[in-house]
Every structure is written in structure tokens, then in C-alpha cells.
């Protein structure tokens, strides 16, 4: 019995690609701007999965030392950026809502009339 069912790098990367594509679809297709921001968070999360997966599987084989966790530190910085981005983004949404009384991206067309 030579069946190896261990989960390798490929599986994690595929999960990341699926999450990224779903987020990309959401950014293109959703009408509510808060849903667009949520899809952006999904995409950032997919990138984080890739960072951690490459760190776990590739980096792990190539060196062992104090720099072994570089990918995880990069993922941590991405999380910090995502938190800042969602805070500023939602504040912008609230500001826009105050003037336009809407959160639909179809109505955010100040530059044309």
C-alpha cells in the first residue's frame, strides 16, 4: 500500500487560489461597497495562506536558523495592513454614505453627469 494521503504544498496553494478567485469575483461583482471590502479581506487572507504555506514547506527545507519564520512575519505584516485598510475603508464608506445616502458602487459617479 503506497498511497500517500499527506497534505502537501499544492493543496494549500490551491485553497489559497480558490479564496483569491472568490474574493476577486466579489470585488468585481458586488454592488454594496461593504461587500467589496469583505471580498478584499478574503483576497488578503488567501495571500496569507500562501505566505505561511511557502514558509512551512519550502523555506523549512532550505534553511534552519533564526530566519525560519520569515514567511509568518510577512503574513503578520499583511494582517496589520488589512486591519488598517478595513478601518480606513469603512470610515470612508460611512463618510460617503453621509453625503450620498447610499452604499451602492453604481451610484458613486461624482466625476460624470
Amino acid at each position: 500500500m503506497n498511497l500517500n494521503l499527506s497534505v502537501g504544498l499544492t493543496s494549500y496553494l490551491l485553497v489559497g487560489a480558490m479564496l483569491f478567485s472568490l474574493g476577486l469575483f466579489g470585488v468585481f461583482a458586488k454592488k454594496n461597497i461593504i461587500a467589496v471590502l469583505m471580498s478584499l479581506e478574503l483576497m488578503l487572507n488567501a495571500v496569507n495562506i500562501n505566505f505561511v504555506a511557502f514558509n512551512r514547506f519550502v523555506w523549512n527545507q532550505q534553511l534552519n536558523g533564526s530566519a525560519l519564520l520569515t514567511g509568518q512575519v510577512a503574513a503578520l505584516f499583511v494582517i496589520v495592513l488589512a486591519a488598517a485598510e478595513v478601518a480606513v475603508g469603512l470610515a470612508l464608506v460611512i463618510t460617503i454614505y453621509r453625503t450620498r445616502k447610499s452604499t451602492s458602487v453604481d451610484e458613486f459617479n461624482w466625476l460624470k453627469w
Binding site: K30, N45, I79
Partner: protein, 168 residues
């Protein structure tokens, strides 16, 4: 073996919850699906020996980001919540390009022989001690920059959401 079962359960949870985020027409359901998807990803982090990152994921994404999204929904919602998050008229090009991106990336992943790596023994910790050591030595300057960025984002978010008073 147990790791494989756990991986597939939570990978399916994460991906199907993400599907729920982008297809649900009720934006509150979208926000709850988002929290579920983040929790599934946190389990994947644990499977990849990134315990500290899994804890951070649960705290920041499931805790803070999901709640902040729900607050923003509460502050801006008008009309019927059941129809609060539809698709735009041009959703089809978006769907096509998203599928195209997925197919291309999946082809690259599946055909690259160098990436067919099965887990080897993990050598490098992953707890808070190891990560903070790296952050305070090699990544000191990015760490400080992230602190400044967070402060600016905090102040900016407060100013934006509160509204600047018109000066005469």
C-alpha cells in the same frame, strides 16, 4: 492521517464560506460567512505549525474585522436587509476573469514539479517567542513602520468617520 481529514474539512469550510460571502444577497449573512471563513483559515494555520498566527487570525479577523464590518453595515443600511448586497449589472465579466485567474494559477500550481512537497519535519517553532524575536531583531524597522501605520490609520479613521467641522 488525522491531519489530512482535518485539512479537508476546514479547507472546504473556508472555501464554501467564502462562496457564501460573495453569493449571499443579505449582507449580514455575508459578514457572518466571512467570520466562518477566517476561522477555517485559522485552523489551516495551525496545521501549518503557525500557532501564533492562528491566534492572531482569530483575534483580529474573526474578532475585530468581522465586528467592524457588522458595525458599518448597521450604520449604513437602508431598506430591506434581504436585498442589501446584490450583484452589479456587469457581474459576468467579473466572474469570467475570476475563473480565468483561478484556472491559470491552478495550472501553474499543479504543473510545477518543484512545488510537490510533502511535509517534512518542522524545525522552527512558530510560537509568540520565536516570532517576536525575529520582529525585534531582523524586522525592527518594518515593525516600527507598522506601528506608525496603525496609528495613522486609527487617527484617519476617527477623523473620517467623525467628519471635519467646517471652519469659517
Amino acid at each position: 492521517m488525522a491531519g489530512t481529514v482535518v485539512f479537508f474539512i476546514f479547507a472546504i469550510v473556508a472555501v464554501s464560506a467564502a462562496w457564501g460571502v460573495v453569493t449571499s444577497r443579505n449582507i449580514v449573512h455575508s459578514a457572518l460567512f466571512l467570520a466562518l471563513s477566517f476561522a477555517g483559515v485559522a485552523v489551516l494555520y495551525i496545521l501549518m505549525n503557525a500557532e501564533f498566527l492562528a491566534a492572531v487570525q482569530l483575534l483580529i479577523y474573526c474578532g475585530a474585522v468581522a465586528i467592524m464590518v457588522v458595525f458599518a453595515v448597521m450604520l449604513t443600511l437602508r431598506g430591506d436587509v434581504e436585498e442589501s448586497s446584490g450583484e452589479t449589472k456587469k457581474w459576468l465579466p467579473g466572474a469570467i476573469s475570476a475563473v480565468l485567474v483561478f484556472v491559470i494559477v491552478a495550472l501553474v500550481i499543479l504543473t510545477n514539479q518543484e512545488w510537490r512537497i510533502l511535509p517534512s519535519a518542522w524545525l522552527g517553532g512558530g510560537g509568540a517567542t520565536d516570532i517576536s524575536f525575529l520582529m525585534f531583531s531582523r524586522y525592527m524597522i518594518p515593525f516600527e513602520a507598522a506601528a506608525i501605520l496603525l496609528t495613522i490609520a486609527l487617527v484617519g479613521a476617527v477623523i473620517l468617520a467623525k467628519g471635519v467641522k467646517e471652519s469659517k
